[in-house]
């Protein structure tokens, strides 16, 4: 038996390829929302829009329907440079043996107040 749950967990196979795209697809934008003054913009999600103005308007309608933000950034997804996830070890230095970068490393001063 196949199909039917809202979440698509139904045993059917992936859809077959559809007809070719006639129009250039709208570019993808990443949306960042500042939820209130004093806080950073935080990534909320992404959307498609033909230009920056429309991206902002779409972002407002899509990500701030309930006062979730006081400011929005939209950034073309293609402008984001990502570190390579498979190069984890080489790129991010190992924290091993570097406990001294944390306050908890310094135990001799224990009992001294406001330190």
């Amino acid at each position: 038996m196949t199909g039917g749950s809202t979440t698509g967990d139904d045993g059917s196979t992936a859809p077959a390829p559809g007809p070719a795209e006639k129009r250039q697809p709208w570019p993808l934008w990443e949306v960042f929302v500042r939820s209130s003054r004093g806080l950073s913009h935080v990534h909320a999600g992404s959307l498609h829009a033909p230009d920056a103005d429309m991206a902002l308007r779409n972002a407002r309608d899509l990500y701030t329907r309930r006062n979730e933000g006081v400011s929005l950034w939209v950034v073309p997804s293609s402008a984001i440079i990502t570190s390579d996830p498979s190069a984890k070890e080489q790129f991010f230095e190992s924290p091993q043996g570097k406990d001294y970068r944390h306050a908890t490393y310094y135990t001799k001063s224990e009992g001294v107040k406001h330190l």
Binding site: G4, S5, T7, D9, P15, W26, G45, R65, T82, S86
Partner: protein
């Protein structure tokens, strides 16, 4: 295609290392992110599940949007519009999540329009009265919430994050539906009858929203092994029955199922038999409203073509004006 060198992306070494990291991440119940290596079957299965979920949100706008003009007060119209707008948002969050797996949104839209993609069978039932809008909010959104809350912890990061956003919005959907029924239940006899009739018709289809019984749900096991799905269809259905069996009492109405009971031995809620033949029929496209929903979706897409084209042309023109020098020669 020639066999790729071992060091190339997707080569045997990368695949082995990728599979190992993937297995480790799943074993420690961590998350997989878009740029991580993942098994092709995981990618395919998620693409199917998330896009189908997105299509359900989009098609799901239709039965309710049809009632906006007939909603009994300005307040109810505003509420219903807000709900339908939320469902559009849910569809878009989910298309975005699915896109991170490599399938463009336009392609998913084309598949839906071409009738190649599925959506939840629940939206192929007719919405006959205002009480149905109440029953949909309470039962259909209620079942969706039961399904979706565990999906907030799905192993694929973008899916889980979309679900968190969706779940925050869903509880209003369920409550507004329950309130519609509550008001009818406290109204005239005719209104009470209308509310009961809506519950009678939406009860079984909403239970079937959880998908086929466990012994007839071939993908469930793999999906649970990948930490996408956290509970089986029958488990979630049983929980849902328990919740609505209590909630219906607040309405002073009943569920159309004399077999609903809490089994002390198993600690689970039970319900009467469901008509899985009907479920198959609706899925196969022979439900009461399949053709209507697909036709409406196609029309909306075609009617909107000039808007998409105009917006793209305008964006092109603005871009050319902004950079005249680079266009020269």
């Amino acid at each position: 295609m020639a066999a790729p060198a071992a060091t190339q992306y997707g080569g045997p070494d990368i695949d082995a290392a990728g599979q190992q990291l993937f297995d480790e991440l799943i074993a420690e119940d961590s998350r997989i992110e878009p740029r991580d290596w993942m098994p092709e079957a995981y990618r395919k299965s998620l693409t199917r599940q998330i896009s189908q979920h997105a299509h359900s949100e989009i098609i799901g706008m239709q039965p309710e949007a049809n009632w906006i003009t007939r909603a009994p007060s300005l307040k109810r119209k505003a509420i219903l519009m807000a709900k339908v707008q939320d469902e559009a948002g849910h569809g878009l969050y989910l298309y975005s999540a699915a896109e991170t797996l490599g399938t463009p949104r336009d392609k998913m839209t084309e598949d839906l329009i071409a009738g190649k993609a599925r959506y939840s069978s629940i939206f192929n039932y007719p919405v006959l009265t205002w009480a149905d809008i109440g029953a949909i909010g309470w039962l259909v959104d209620g079942a969706a919430i039961c399904n979706q809350v565990p999906l907030c912890r799905a192993s694929y990061g973008p899916y889980g994050r979309a679900m968190v956003r969706i779940c925050k919005e869903e509880s209003f959907h369920q409550r507004q539906g329950f309130e519609i029924l509550l008001e009818l239940a406290n109204g005239t006899q005719a209104q009470r009858d209308m509310a009961q009739d809506a519950i009678n018709r939406w009860y079984a289809p909403s239970l079937m929203m959880f998908g086929p019984p466990d012994d007839d749900s071939p993908n469930s096991k793999q999906s649970m092994a990948w930490n996408i799905k956290r509970f089986s269809n029958d488990e979630l259905r049983s929980r849902f029955v328990g919740m609505i069996a209590e909630q219906v009492k607040a309405l002073g109405l009943t569920l159309p199922d004399p077999d609903v009971r809490f089994n002390e031995d198993t600690g689970k809620w039970e319900h009467g038999p469901l008509d899985w033949e009907e479920f198959k029929e609706v899925l196969a496209g022979r439900g009461p409203c399949n053709a209507q929903r697909m036709e409406r979706r196609r029309e909306a897409h075609e009617d909107g073509a000039w808007v998409r084209e105009a917006a793209a042309a305008y964006a092109d023109k603005q871009a050319r004006r902004a950079a005249p020098a680079t266009e020269a020669a």
